[in-house]
C-alpha cells in the first residue's frame, strides 16, 4: 500500500511536481525500499528512451507539396459536406414518406362506397323483393308474362328496378 503511494510520488517527481516535503518523503522511502528503487530505474530508463535526441525533419518542399492540395481539399470538403447532407437526407425523406402515407391511411376517412340497388331500396325503407313478390303472386301464367313485358318496357327509375 505504501509503495503504491510512493509510485505516484515517483511518477510526479519526473515532472518536478513534488513539494519539498514530498520530495524528502520519497527520498527516505527509496533509501529503504529496493522494490521502488528498481521501479525508479525502470521508469527513468523508459522516459530516457522516449525522449528523442533528434527528430527527423519533414520531407523537403513541404509547402510546395501542400499548396496544390489546399484548393483540392476545399473541393473535397464541399463534396464531403454534400455527401454528409445527402446521407442524412435520404433516410429523413424516407421517414417523411412513411409518415405521410401512414397519416393518409389513418386520418383521412374512407370515401363512402356506392350503395347496391338493394341497399338503396332498404335505405329508402322499401322492400327490395316487392316487385318479385307481385309477379310471383300472380296466378295466371299469361298475366305473369304480360307483367314482365310491361315491366321491361316501363321507364326505369334511378335504381333500375320496377316499382309499383
Amino acid at each position: 500500500m505504501r509503495c503504491k503511494k510512493f509510485e505516484r510520488l515517483l511518477l510526479r517527481s519526473f515532472d518536478e511536481l513534488l513539494k519539498e516535503e514530498e520530495k524528502n518523503e520519497l527520498k527516505k522511502h527509496l533509501e529503504s525500499c529496493v522494490h521502488c528503487q528498481i521501479k525508479r530505474e525502470q521508469y527513468q530508463s523508459i522516459l530516457d528512451a522516449l525522449k528523442e535526441k533528434d527528430f527527423p525533419e519533414p520531407k523537403p518542399y513541404f509547402w510546395e507539396r501542400l499548396q496544390p492540395k489546399l484548393t483540392g481539399g476545399k473541393k473535397y470538403d464541399a463534396w464531403s459536406i454534400w455527401k454528409q447532407w445527402a446521407l442524412r437526407a435520404i433516410p429523413a425523406s424516407m421517414l417523411l414518406v412513411i409518415l405521410f402515407t401512414a397519416a393518409i391511411i389513418l386520418f383521412i376517412p374512407p370515401q363512402s362506397e356506392e350503395l347496391s340497388e338493394s341497399g338503396d331500396l332498404l335505405l329508402r325503407n322499401l322492400d327490395p323483393l316487392q316487385e318479385t313478390s307481385i309477379l310471383l303472386e300472380e296466378e295466371k301464367l299469361e298475366d305473369k308474362n304480360m307483367m314482365l313485358i310491361f315491366t321491361a318496357m316501363e321507364e326505369k327509375n334511378s335504381t333500375g328496378r320496377y316499382l309499383p
Binding site: E7, R8, L11, R12, D15, I38, K39, E41, Q42, Y43, S45, I46, L47, A49, L50, K51, E52, F55, P56, E57, P58, K59, F62, W63, R65, L66, Q67, K69, L70, G73, K74, D77
Partner: protein, 191 residues
C-alpha cells in the same frame, strides 16, 4: 506580422499568410505525427493532411485558444483516426518482437553503447504502439514532445486532474508492457 493577423488573413483565404503559419508549425506538427507513428513517410502525409484539415476548418476558428493549440488538437485527432485503423498491425509487430531472443548480458557488454540505446528506444516505442490510444497520445505529448500539463489540457480538452491521472496510468501501463524485457539473466534490471 503577428500570428493573429496571419490567422485572420488565412481565414479570408490568403494563401501566403497560411504559408507563413505552415512554415512556423510544420516541424512541430510533423514531430507530433512522427512520435505517434514512428514512420517518416506516414508522419509527413499525416502532417500535410492535418494542415489541409486546419485550412478547411479555419473559418470556424474563433480565437478562443492559441492557433498552435488548435492546430495540435487537429493533428492529434487526425493521427488518432489513422492509428485506429493501424492498431492491429502495431500489436502484431510488438508480439513478433517479444518472440525474438533477449539480448544476453555478455553480448550486451560487447555492443556499442549507442547500439544498445537504439535497441532500447526501438523497444520502448514498439511498446508504446501497443497501449490504448489515449495513453499513447498523452505519453507522446508529455514524454516525447515535452508539452506542459497546461498545454496538454488545452490540446486534449481535458481537466488537469485527468492529465495527471491519465499520464500516470500510461507510464505504469508502459512499464508493465515492457516488464518481460527488464528481467534478464543475473537479475539485471536494466533494459
Amino acid at each position: 506580422m503577428e500570428e493573429k493577423e496571419l490567422v485572420r488573413l488565412s481565414k479570408e483565404g490568403d494563401e501566403e499568410a497560411f504559408a507563413s503559419l505552415v512554415k512556423k508549425y510544420k516541424t512541430k506538427v510533423f514531430n507530433l505525427a512522427w512520435s505517434l507513428t514512428r514512420d517518416r513517410e506516414t508522419a509527413d502525409d499525416l502532417a500535410q493532411e492535418a494542415f489541409i484539415k486546419a485550412y478547411i476548418a479555419l473559418p470556424t476558428f474563433q480565437f478562443k485558444s492559441e492557433f498552435g493549440t488548435w492546430l495540435y488538437r487537429i493533428t492529434v485527432n487526425h493521427v488518432k483516426d489513422f492509428l485506429r485503423k493501424k492498431s492491429k498491425m502495431s500489436k502484431l509487430l510488438f508480439e513478433r518482437m517479444k518472440e525474438m531472443p533477449l539480448i544476453q548480458e555478455n553480448e550486451m557488454i560487447k555492443k556499442e553503447k549507442e547500439q544498445i540505446s537504439e535497441e532500447r528506444r526501438k523497444l520502448v516505442h514498439q511498446g508504446l504502439q501497443t497501449i490504448p490510444e489515449k495513453y499513447k497520445v498523452i505519453l507522446s505529448l508529455r514524454d516525447i514532445q515535452g508539452f506542459s500539463y497546461e498545454e496538454i489540457t488545452n490540446i486534449l480538452k481535458i481537466s488537469p486532474g485527468t492529465v495527471d491521472s491519465r499520464l500516470h496510468r500510461a507510464r505504469k501501463m508502459l512499464r508493465k508492457k515492457l516488464a518481460p524485457f527488464f528481467i534478464q539473466k543475473g537479475g539485471n534490471h536494466e533494459m
